[in-house]
Symmetry: C2
Subunit: 362 residues, 2 copies
């Protein structure tokens, strides 16, 4: 069989270890997983109820127009349903973007360390990934590289705030940067964690409606996986000018999200209290981790997300030891970084994790 050449050296994404694996391998029952930036409060009680009620609809394909969800998202973001595309997580929108603008002759531009899926999807098309020398987003470096490779760079990915590091650019700086970019270059604003950043600091808040009014070449990505607590349901969305959405929509297969995912996303959008509680706990508890770092003299990246990246010199050993004690954190060695990314948990979870860390670091 002749497989397409371009796939030969493909890398796969290394997902956070699931609880099931730790249960299987170490026989531990009370596992704490703070590895995948899932919502520590689970999902909204309203959503849980809706899922229970929808359990007798599992045999029915979803309304593939996603009418109700698009109406709700349109209202929330002051855009029209025609500015929206729904994906199986915002990941899938990244995949559509790659297929629409990338090929073996062009490239994407990203920060030095950022969400791994940009490069992975680019590689599916044989496109190169050009990264800044800076690990975090550095717009001056980006602009310089862009000017030198203007003909080659088809898309720029800005992760605001940045996963897995946690830093976030100011919107005013992002807009100033974007004005320097050709309207022929697609600019992807990955806002998976932007609502966390917005809660902490209004200067970081991307308004998708304003964004796409000002920049016809921009697309905003959002997700239900983080603040809305629906990581397991795989629902994300893209917001952009209609001419971009129409092109992406050509690649969307029918029924790309499940009937229960659709229902849960619609209901989740209506539970503001749950999301607010999530933000409040997140940044209160972030402080607990920051004080811990100061206390033990280890540096961290000030974070605008629901995780904190701590620069432990021996991240692999620390993660391995904790794993055997039933605590799953995210070792960033696969990103070429001696650091551990910890999802901010509930107060109870964080206390257990920090006590175990203190024990290990003694």
């Amino acid at each position: 069989m002749v497989f397409n050449e371009v796939l030969k050296n493909l890398k796969n994404y290394e997902a956070g270890k699931p609880i099931e694996l730790v249960v299987r391998e170490y026989g531990i029952k009370d596992v704490i997983k703070l590895a995948s930036n899932e919502n520590p409060f689970g999902t909204s009680p309203l959503v849980k109820n809706a899922l229970k009620n929808a359990s007798n609809k599992a045999h029915l394909y979803p309304d593939d127009s996603y009418f109700e969800l698009k109406e709700a998202l349109s209202a929330k973001f002051s855009v029209t349903p025609k500015n929206l595309i729904i994906g199986s997580g915002s990941d899938q929108i990244i995949e559509f973007i790659a297929h629409v603008v990338l090929n073996e002759k062009n490239a994407i531009l990203t920060a030095g360390i950022t969400f791994a899926m940009y490069e992975i999807y680019a590689s599916h098309l044989g496109a190169k990934t050009i990264k800044t020398p800076s690990q975090t987003h550095d717009l001056n470096q980006m602009l310089e590289i862009y000017k030198q490779n203007k003909d080659k760079i088809a898309a720029i990915f800005l992760c605001l705030p940045n996963n897995p590091l946690g830093e976030c650019l100011d919107v005013s700086d992002v807009y100033a940067f974007m004005r320097e970019i050709s309207p022929d270059t697609l600019i992807v604003i990955d806002g998976a964690y932007n609502d966390f950043a917005k809660f902490k600091d209004a200067k970081k808040a991307i308004d998708p409606s304003d964004l796409i009014k000002n920049f016809k070449n921009a697309i905003f990505l959002g997700t239900f996986s983080k603040s809305y607590g629906l990581g397991g349901m795989r629902v994300g969305y893209g917001i952009a000018d209609e001419f971009i959405i129409n092109e992406l929509a050509k690649l969307r297969a029918p029924f790309n999200i499940t009937t229960l995912s659709l229902k849960s996303a619609i209901v989740a959008l209506g539970d503001d209290d749950f999301v607010k509680k999530t933000f409040e706990n997140n940044f209160e508890q972030m402080g607990v981790y920051e004080r811990f770092c100061d206390e033990i003299g280890v540096s961290f990246i000030p974070s605008f997300t629901n995780f904190i990246t701590i620069k432990f010199a021996n991240s692999t050993q620390i993660c391995d030891k904790l794993l055997k004690q039933g605590v799953i954190l995210r070792n960033l060695a696969s990103y070429g970084l001696d650091a551990v990314r910890i999802t901010i948990g509930t107060p109870e979870q964080n206390e257990i994790v920090l006590n175990k860390l203190r024990e290990i670091l003694k």
Copy 2:
């Protein structure tokens, strides 16, 4: 923005009309949908229970190794987990296949009328679709076309039984055909409805384990959407030799099915009674439709699936009239066929639909 040339003339799949749309547009509450081959009994009571219990896991990403599901499928089909890939419906496996072997220079070979997604995914890669003059599967025609276009045809799709027509080839004929095909050509056996065919006639049953032992260039596709009643949960699988699975796996994004989908598929596999009841009702009620056709003098295609394709001369008018009465059937006009595909429903649903049809055809 420069979009990839190959996407310019892409077609989109026309999904069956959802119940929600009929409710919205016609204000009808008691809608009967026999348009998308969903299980009329819903899903197994065991699955419903499992979904309710899993509603508090919606925030957690699934175990991306799909360990438990692969173990269960391996046991069922006497293959190893390495022979398996899980997709968001078997659709997604077709998508992976397209990306792995197709490009602008090659083509796929299919029956004249068959599942529309083969051609749609092929078109995403710029590959051509060569169809037999015969609407149903005709292996002699296929072989002739294959021999004339051997260098061009990278994959052959056999839909067994065939959606949306319902006919099914005998396994012995399929194997004889496959022996004539170069080992460099991928042969896709889409078995989405094969368990229905197997129940009706053992000669139609594809044994995936036997298939992949005999043909290293074959892949079997199965789904949880039909007999298992999980259309809305989007779970399908591919079974093939490891070297094919490894290549497809490069394209599988992490978490391509939801946490609740994973759980429901695992539980569904354990409820044989539900599936048996589904098959029994299906073919008993199929008889009711066949007798109706004989009674009114309209021809149908003898079906090995959970639907029956009836050759009404005025299919569009019939479907439109029924739609306004709250009955959704699948008009095959988009397939270039004056015919209506009706999913076999419960006895109660079928009675209502047939009475309405009698009324309309008077």
